[in-house]
Amino acid sequence: MNTSSYIYGESFYHKYDIRAKLFFTFLYSILVFFVRSWYGLIAFPLIPFAVFLVSLGGIETWRAIKRILPVIILLFLFLPLQDRGGNPIVEINGFVFVTGEGLYRVCRLASRFIALSLILMLLIETERSENIIRGLRFYRMPYNVALLFSMILRFIPYLGSMFDEIRASMSLRLTEGKRGFPIMPSITAFAVASVRMIPDTAAALEERGFGRKERRDYKGLKTSPKLFTELFFSAILPIIFFIVMR
């Protein structure tokens, strides 16, 4: 399960201490769930979007958006239909397609989804996974849980890249006269490859000694004079933003 999620950079967010970055990510992810106002729903995804843009540039930001775009489109296409009680906004021949309440609910879901996805992608694309593990260990997270957490964070983009590879390989196998790419075989292949990855990854971890009692950490995090300042900003900025926008 090796995916290249980290992108080298010299931005302020790349240089931000991992302990402060983790705290900011965690706090921001929690606050997203308490936002109710329309301003907040719009503003909360915009902050990680702006940081993404500044830290990783337009191309990488677009790549990140492209990854979550299908889910957002599906949300807006189907969720309003699920929630048809309330003030109708779009109604055709007496059939209510969209209500004000339904639209609000889907916007809230989309806002949370975008904000959460971007803030997590921002973390893994600006920080090497070994540093994420070290940061989590700083917060006294047990090593196995920190390793698992780091792998889950990389598992998501890995699945994306695996699906792209399968699509590419599938496209080489298209017979004459067929267009597009075969969706069902691709999904089947994707499911098989994902399931197969579990024992392979577990075996590889154990063969490298995962689970041995004598394990010790390599290169712990150094004490940094700016850590306190960065931690302070990581706490105060999201809270102020939340109070203003909620």
């Binding site: 290249s4 996974s129 070994e130 390989s169 080489l172 024992p199 590889a204 154990e206 063969e207 490298r208």
Partner: protein
């Protein structure tokens, strides 16, 4: 010293080993050369413990290293005793940087930071990976990944090294260097291969084979002859002014590679051999030709007409290094039928490629997976094909018979290989990548 007597069968009743006995003295080396599917990879996984722990099956017997039966130990406890380089490197890479990949098992051995640092520096230099320390392992080429896996194993330095087809994907220079490292080591080595390469040959050690689950004497085969009278057609795949570049995203711009291809041509019915070092860009160029990667400059043409990547995918078969990347369906039969070929042709192909329709693709060996991959593109009847290190994990006879079948069907074949002996058997022109230029 290692003494092994292994009997193993999978849960489905398939008997792999029946009192497969062998021994390796302290500091000794043993080669096992046998056909794909004979159980070499299963043997390596049995010794590290991945089989039967993660596959199921019934294991009997023992493998004793320095008086300790390793079958009595759990997998992590075997770390300092036995380690392997997998045939499929992708399944063994877990972390996001080369440094972390090497450091992980060393941390699990409980070594100090200084010792870990020392070993990382040493193996990076040993395998020419000094500039890749912070690079994500997924950004390495096939040969570089193989060197990384070797670096991990040499950093752990267990009592027994298992090299499962580990010479494959390495350039001739690295193959020779690996032989020197093996010769200089005082550890035990178990070297598994499907054919004896020039480099294996220079290792003077005992060689055995696997015959119906038992150890048997290995009989060296002479290099086969390749008889083919070229029947070239006028149809031609060509490229001019192609430039391909790749950046290591995890390292910024510092370590990118650039390949330039001033001109390239391949006629239908022609065989062309492409060689070059690890990470030189052979696979990237293949991806450009087959339409999987957009070229930075230049154009790819068929019969002098520029062809868009989408169209190239339907005209040029690309047999990737890792065959599992091109297999999608549960059984060989379903894979074959997905090509849309008629049943008589499919039945003929099963015989030609030595495949059984009922086999599950997830369970076949790496070598068999390569044959299946080749059968599928054969059935698709593409006019051009690129074989990316197809000879690895297959006996020469099988690789050559596949290439001959493609040529006889009128396909233009480009063969990428690191095995100079194999390259010398093939007919036709040779091209080489040197200093970032394919000439």
């Amino acid at each position: 010293m290692l003494n092994a007597d292994i009997t193993f069968s999978y849960s489905n009743g398939e008997n792999v080993f029946s009192h497969f006995c062998f021994s390796i003295p302290d500091g000794g080396k043993l080669k096992i050369i046998s056909d794909p599917g004979s159980g070499k990879t299963t043997l390596s996984k049995i010794l590290t413990g991945a089989v039967p722990s993660y596959s199921g099956g019934s294991l009997e017997g023992s493998a004793v290293i320095d008086g300790e039966n390793i079958f009595d130990l759990d997998i992590p406890s075997r770390l300092s005793l036995v380690g392997r380089v997998s045939q499929n490197t992708d399944e063994m890479l877990l972390f996001s940087s080369v440094e972390e990949e090497i450091a992980f098992p060393l941390c699990n051995l409980g070594l100090s930071d200084e010792e870990i640092e020392k070993r990382i520096d040493s193996v990076l230099s040993l395998f020419g990976l000094e500039g890749y320390r912070k690079v994500a392992s997924s950004e390495l080429s096939g040969g570089e990944k193989r060197r990384l896996m070797l670096a991990v194993l040499f950093a752990i330095n267990p009592e027994l090294y298992i090299l499962d087809e580990s010479f494959d994907e390495l350039s001739p220079e690295w193959r020779s260097r690996l032989v020197e490292l093996i010769k200089a080591s005082d550890r035990m080595f178990l070297i598994l291969g499907s054919h004896e390469t020039e480099e294996y040959g220079s290792l003077s050690c005992r060689t055995i084979s696997v015959d119906q689950g038992r150890a048997s004497e290995y009989r060296k085969k002479p290099l086969p002859l390749f008889s083919y009278i070229p029947q070239m057609f006028s149809s031609e795949l060509s490229a001019s002014g192609i430039s391909v570049s790749r950046m290591h995203r995890s390292l910024g711009n510092d370590n990118s590679f650039r390949l330039s291809v001033p001109s390239f041509s391949l006629k239908r019915g022609e065989c062309l051999v492409i060689t070059g070092g690890n990470g030189a860009g052979k696979s990237s160029f293949s991806r450009v030709l087959s339409g999987l990667l957009e070229e930075s400059g230049g154009s790819v043409m068929i019969d002098s007409k520029p062809v868009l990547p989408k169209e190239r995918r339907r005209r040029i078969a690309y047999l990737m290094q890792n065959p599992y990347e091109e297999l999608f369906l549960p059984t060989v039969k379903e894979e074959a039928e997905s090509t849309g070929a008629d049943s008589s042709m499919i039945d003929r192909a099963y015989n030609l490629f030595n495949l059984v329709p009922e086999w599950y693709t997830a369970e076949i060996s790496y070598g068999r997976a390569k044959m299946l991959q080749a059968m599928l593109f054969y059935l698709l009847e593409r006019p051009f094909a690129i074989f990316d290190e197809f000879d690895s994990a297959l006996p020469y006879e099988e690789s050559l018979s596949v290439i001959r079948m493609y040529l006889e069907a009128g396909c233009g074949v480009a063969v990428i290989t690191h095995d100079m002996a194999f390259a010398s058997i093939l007919p036709g022109r040779h091209m080489n990548i040197a200093d970032g230029v394919l000439l």
